[in-house]
Symmetry: C2
Subunit: 599 residues, 2 copies
């Protein structure tokens, strides 16, 4: 087993040196979170992850969750792991101090999440699902529901879930058919099926609280007829927990994340499943978007964490494994060199590092916007919210899609060994794949970005991002060694603008279908530019700090950042050239391919 | 389970319409293989695959191979499957009629292999390893060894293997240390370890015959001191099969291909392991290259087959699953459309189809060169051999690398369902990954292509390929509807030439390290051009035949080819733009990244 899974130095670089997280103390809510407090919190998170999470990553895959006699069993490490996260204050953390929380900045919560997910996302995600579900109750449900459910969710005794997907409604939530029938007593009677429910049922908790979408009888069709309910597995009756007629039909046999349950639930088969309305009727989908947007950032952090674990595992192998010789000296009587000496192994390691650290940078950027949107007021809050909305599809999809490729590169570094279960790469490879599907497939996020986010508030979100990139370019200008990087970013960013303008013309003159046909490729191009921006931000800080680095280790840290930024621009950002050409093409090949032509 | 895994119509298109396989009858060896005979053989292969292979694909993954009390157990379907392939003449097929074979053209053998590997590569590969091992004995070993081993290999009773890799010698075969000590009686005494030996030991055969590389005591260091031996698991002594001191230490727990064994072998631990020299001492590696080159084409066919199975499984899902609505009509009271109606699903299907059928086209092209190299004489044979050598790295790596991506796209078409074992996509995803590692990793093939093949025979191989591409462009010229495709290919091909010229300058002026640093990216760029060439070849035939198509089905077949060719040029070949820019860059980032900068 590899001994490292995430760089705390890098998280500190992002939090303090790039994003100045301690300055969030300007908001009353975050008083006390100075640099020391943040570092202490990170240290505690690392210790928790070292003890309760990372040692069980492989074991959860081998033991996996299973379904027997109507019960879902998860490995024994899950209960103490959830409890440790709860006791460490990580489930309640973002909430008000008055409500048992610590008013932690989201930037810090997400940095902790980065540690936990890199250590063992399959365990930690149970706790963070609970956090999101509790937060949804906190924001929109009655005080009574809050008092009834949240304490035992924050203590880790009860699991929270988001129960959206149904057999006929996956990507298309407007087709949800689960029903909610009002009763004179108040609760609704819920009937329906929910599938792929993460954490949906298991024996590491004492109860499960579903945040569930259903349609009140007679509600309008589509998204505007969907309401949000709290639906517990066990409900309280006279101080006792009794069955709420939520049964588990089974759990899915997944390619990866085998210790983390995805359940198939039957609700109200006996007509006794009670649901408690959250907020107003028919507004459920808009409420749920709060949790979905958090979960999208969480999915990005999970993917980046898996890629981070894989990077360190492959780096360790590359430092220990000797094989082959340099092209200019193939003398077979000399010992072979370590494979980290080979250019292509370095390319694969740089690729992994660029994906992992670029993703974390973007995720911290989004976390900062979330903090400002939460705590600031007026235009500042609104702008931060718009930027977060615009960047969420990237923050979810880039770590997922490129994390998959990064882990694959990590496996390739190990050669045949990487394909075997003697090393963790094969698990990382299986585990990370689902992130491109969770919380909206990449296709959905492409359509969200191009079809909705780009034109949000008459394009203000896009203008704000352009201004942010411009500011980063301006900051880099005083550092002549960065000019090749700046030029690359400015070039790619200009080309992205050309593509955006062109596609908006297509929307105006052709059809919505033509406009959105290559939205996935647009998302990819947009992602390169956004990640290029993050790499230039990081490179600028590194270049400024390098001359005053306090030790050789610190020097290497900054040099490493600069080198990885160079790699990103030269090997990754350059792919926008081809995407630019493709996206300007008037060809509508995918639209024109009749289904009968697939054979 | 999906009901389809490969298109026989497509194989017939390639064999008859594109490559005119029946014209191979011009060689005496292949007399009788007219179009009908070829079609009958394909039909028989399909029937065999339908009966003995495809129904067991999922089952072999669930039951998997296991090691218990020193024995390797494989699922029960393996023995009858190998026997069916042997009885069908597929192991002996390419050999002389006088030696029990059928003098089958390699083009036809490989078309059969395509069917078997698409149906169940994890079973069929056992038989084809035996074919390659037998062929190696046939070509280089004494008549006595041939008579002793080949009949029971051809009958499927004995498994053949290639035993190359050792714990310290994977990509770098020159570091092999297994030893061979001469004895007065003739046989050598073998000592050493071999790892990752496919088919290396299992209970579906009665014996295993290793084609093994080892170093005769006192042999020179490096590749020129390696000899080839036949090393059976059981040797004949007085008409009895007795242990030959080859023991299995275990088998690898692989992420995929779980029913197909990769064994760890210990040879001569008791000093009683006999090996029989094949050919001359110290020439073993050059002999082994015959089997390795065949195995590389075989790996390409295996990867393409896995991607083919995945394509049909995802296509079936896309035709059956309804979800969402068109961007221009989102009326939620209308029923959802089939997902094959969505542009991005079509893009993912077209990508899969382009990878699968493009790969098969290239693999058939290579098979034709192999047939000409085998049967023709003089310049024609030599040129065909050079083209085969040049294209082998592509024929191995493109289906492997892009097959991985194609299967991933197939999984994505299914969304969450694709990640579960309710569908075969997750197995295809795990199984195909190893092909980018088998028979030389992609890195190794990049270095082989750029460092060796491009300059082979003073660049004659490259010149021949350029002439072939030119000829395809000339054939397409009479079809004006193909001119966008031709222009795209000519453009990309010209840019590849620029890159090649540039890199040869780097080799001359800079260093071997700089020359080869981005060899993997060069391989990728080269592959796009080669596949573009194959797609233009196919499109040309399709465009010529379309007007005379005999039925609506036939019409759709040709239209489908044209549409997929358009897709390839517009979405895939265009990626050469970015590679062109990257490969012309004077940056040497990977070489300059000190190992200490990875942190």
């Amino acid at each position: 087993m590899a001994s490292e899974y995430i760089s705390i130095r890098n998280l500190r670089f992002l939090l303090h040196e790039v994003f100045h997280a301690a300055q969030l103390q300007r908001y009353d809510r975050y008083q006390g979170y100075d640099q020391d407090a943040i570092d202490l919190t990170l240290g505690a998170a690392r210790q928790l992850a070292d003890q309760y999470l990372f040692p069980h990553y492989r074991e959860m895959d081998k033991q996996k969750a299973y379904f027997e006699n109507g019960q879902v069993h998860v490995p024994a490490c899950v209960r103490p792991g959830i409890k440790a996260l709860a006791d460490g204050g990580w489930i309640a953390g973002p909430d008000d101090i008055d409500f048992g929380g610590q008013q932690m900045p989201l930037s810090l919560v997400n940095a902790g999440l980065a540690i936990f997910y890199a250590a063992n996302g399959n365990l930690a995600s149970n706790a963070f699902l609970t956090q999101g579900a509790a937060n949804l109750i906190r924001t929109f449900a009655s005080e009574a529901l809050q008092r009834q459910y949240i304490p035992r969710m924050y203590s880790g005794e009860w699991q929270g879930t988001m129960a959206l997907t149904e057999p006929q409604a996956g990507s298309s939530l407007s087709d949800i058919t689960s029903s909610a029938t009002p009763t004179p007593e108040g609760p609704y009677l819920i009937r329906g099926q929910k599938i792929f429910i993460s954490g949906g049922d298991h024996n590491a908790v004492d109860n499960v609280v579903h945040l569930l979408l259903a349609r009140i009888d007679g509600a309008p069709a589509g998204a505007k007829g969907i309401s949000l309910f709290v639906v517990p597995k066990l409900r309280e009756e006279n101080g006792q927990l009794v069955s709420n007629d939520v049964t588990t039909a089974g759990i899915y046999g997944k390619m990866g994340q085998k210790g983390y349950v995805a359940a198939h639930l039957m609700l109200g088969e006996q007509g006794r499943c009670q649901g408690y309305l959250v907020g107003e009727p028919h507004k459920g989908l808009s409420y749920m978007f709060q949790m979905m947007n958090e979960a999208r950032i969480g999915t990005g952090i999970m993917a980046a964490g898996t890629a981070s674990g894989a990077y360190y595992a492959s780096l360790q192998y590359a430092r220990e494994r000797a094989q082959g010789r340099h092209p200019s000296n193939k003398d077979v009587t000399l010992p072979p060199v370590l494979i980290i000496e080979h250019a292509d192994v370095r390319r694969m390691l740089l690729f992994q590092k660029a994906v992992v650290e670029g993703s974390y940078s973007l995720l911290m950027q989004c976390s900062q916007y979330a903090d400002i949107a939460r705590c600031d007021t007026g235009q500042a809050a609104e702008d931060a919210h718009l930027l977060l909305e615009l960047l969420t599809p990237i923050a979810k999809s880039y770590p997922s899609e490129f994390g998959i490729q990064a882990v694959s590169a990590g496996m390739q570094v190990l050669g045949g060994a990487g394909y075997t279960d003697d090393f963790p790469l094969e698990q990382y490879y299986r585990d990370i794949r689902v992130n491109a599907i969770y919380e909206g497939t990449t296709t959905i996020h492409g359509i969200d970005l191009l079809g909705r986010k780009i034109t949000l508030n008459k394009g203000r979100a896009s203008q704000l991002l352009a201004a942010e990139i411009q500011q980063t370019l301006a900051s880099a200008q005083s550092l002549p060694q960065l000019s090749p990087l700046s030029e690359a970013l400015a070039h790619a960013s200009g080309r992205l603008q050309e593509v955006t303008d062109h596609l908006l013309q297509v929307a105006a003159n052709e059809s919505p279908e033509a406009f959105l046909a290559d939205a996935t490729l647009y998302l990819e191009m947009f992602s390169y530019v956004v990640l290029g921006w993050q790499w230039l931000r990081q490179a600028t800080v590194a270049a400024e700090r390098l001359p005053q680095a306090a030790s050789p280790d610190e020097q290497r840290f900054y040099q490493s950042k600069l080198q990885t930024a160079r790699y990103f621009m030269a090997y990754e950002l350059v792919k926008t050239d081809s995407l630019h050409r493709r996206l300007l093409s008037p060809d509508r090949i995918t639209l024109e391919t009749d289904p009968e032509l697939f054979m």
